[in-house]
Symmetry: C2
Subunit: 330 residues, 2 copies
Amino acid sequence: MDDPKINQKLEELLDLIEKNLYCFFCKTEPKNLYEPIKYLLEGKGKRIRPLLTLVSTGLLNGNIHKAIKPAIALEFLHNFTLVHDDIMDNSDLRRNRETIHKKWNISVGILSGDLLLAIAFQNIIADVGLEYCKEVLLTYTDSLIEVCEGQGFDLDFENRQDVSINEYFMMIEKKTAKLIENSMVIGGFIANGKLEDIRSLAAIGKSLGLAFQLQDDLLDLTAVNPKFGKVVGKDLVEGKKTFIMLKAKELFKKQDEIDLLNYFFINHGLKPEQVPAMIDYLDRNGIFDITKETINGYFATIKEHLNKFEDNLYKKLLNHLIQSLLNREF
Amino acid sequence: MDDPKINQKLEELLDLIEKNLYCFFCKTEPKNLYEPIKYLLEGKGKRIRPLLTLVSTGLLNGNIHKAIKPAIALEFLHNFTLVHDDIMDNSDLRRNRETIHKKWNISVGILSGDLLLAIAFQNIIADVGLEYCKEVLLTYTDSLIEVCEGQGFDLDFENRQDVSINEYFMMIEKKTAKLIENSMVIGGFIANGKLEDIRSLAAIGKSLGLAFQLQDDLLDLTAVNPKFGKVVGKDLVEGKKTFIMLKAKELFKKQDEIDLLNYFFINHGLKPEQVPAMIDYLDRNGIFDITKETINGYFATIKEHLNKFEDNLYKKLLNHLIQSLLNREF
């Protein structure tokens, strides 16, 4: 990041997001719901989705202050999925802190997630009547449906041996990429963008979301610094059928490789002591490189669409955000 | 029901509701979410909330076909709360059939509930732009927030010994009455009703909701026919702090009564064999009669507000619905 203005603008937007996160609700009772919601929001997330909304509005020379409510609603939606997914995945940690259903219980997890979503809807619906409102609300609801369906497919895939790479991409497109795509599209709508520009924002968001997910899968196996409550090889132990493992199914030829892979698929995961061998097999079959190339392919798409926009500070900031997301090492 | 037209109109509205329930979604995949949703909707509910919406629109001489989407969305919202509440309450049966989290699992329960709500929002938001839309959407979202908060208080009360009757009413107002109230209010908005009429609809709905809940609590202890998967005294065994039990705390004076009541509060419920004695104590302290009188008080409020409306077939139908809800014996 050469330009100090970019950093300054990023800080400014993050500040705007943090300040507005708590404006969505002023209630404190019932405590067993509002305390977990506050706890969740206080766990510092990267705020990628609201940032992308604001930056997309700014990219199209729109008024970012008009975008703040939908941006916060998107962060709420994301957090809603985290709370419910953590229950389904039986996760103990989120952002290095105890998950809500562990700190409280499953009922509190379900219900505070529901309330978080309700509050998000209340806030963006209050803006009904503004010119861009219908598109924003429909796109917002579309994200919610896609993210639920994506998680549904993900749960389904856990019990299936025959998941294809195409199905995997369909699933992460719904579960991860759609919300990132729609965060940018909503920013575009608020700037009253042309259809062509909205389409480019969608293409950037979708590619970014897919690349982000592949990066996540890759980092699980190659991260140098297991921060954020992550443990190297966690996905392998949990039996997650990531792009990497589905690619291994295509490419593994040696008997010892195939045996370990079959173990992984049949037993829904490896024992921790089997992880290093699997990482070695994946590496020598070039699967980490293939994954990096695929990520680079998405990055090329992003660049192509980004080039269509006129230069401004938000374009530089978007470029910086994308670079830092795709270059993160943990 | 003397007038055959009332019965005919009721059948017509119920038909309209059933036919439109499945128009909200045409997807079938992922099967692990859309199958539970279909299963849930096929379990014949009483459809009270959508009926109240349609009847309220008709009462104010509005076009009931304009009310069908919000009516269905309210039924979806109600069903969403049932799926999530059944997980929290660990209930095995709903409408005499296995609950979703028992038939499938908790993850499917959480997620199909979420998706049901998402689909409801998608359908009513598609109508953004219609003149009554903002009021409808805000009232709808308000219902969702209240119902979440009500369930939150209900969970909280389970662990508290000092719940007051006022707190109990605040809780059931949120958890049960608000959605019934808002179902009527939304019907009124769609008919473009005057503020005065909307207020009367709200008063009717709120009283009906509260009376309905007290009736439910009463039937748990006095039902002659334990249909709908209910078992007599279930609330006593589960330790539910209903109006009846909070009233017992005020009125029980004899030592054997107080001992059993303390057992109930301290042990979060009675043993099944203790239920008949408790029912006897409640009866001889006149608590069933007090509950019936309270219900009759709500009924008087309903009647008073209903009288303000001009006679039409929908008014007769509403009156019939209210009578049959409050006179049900199981």
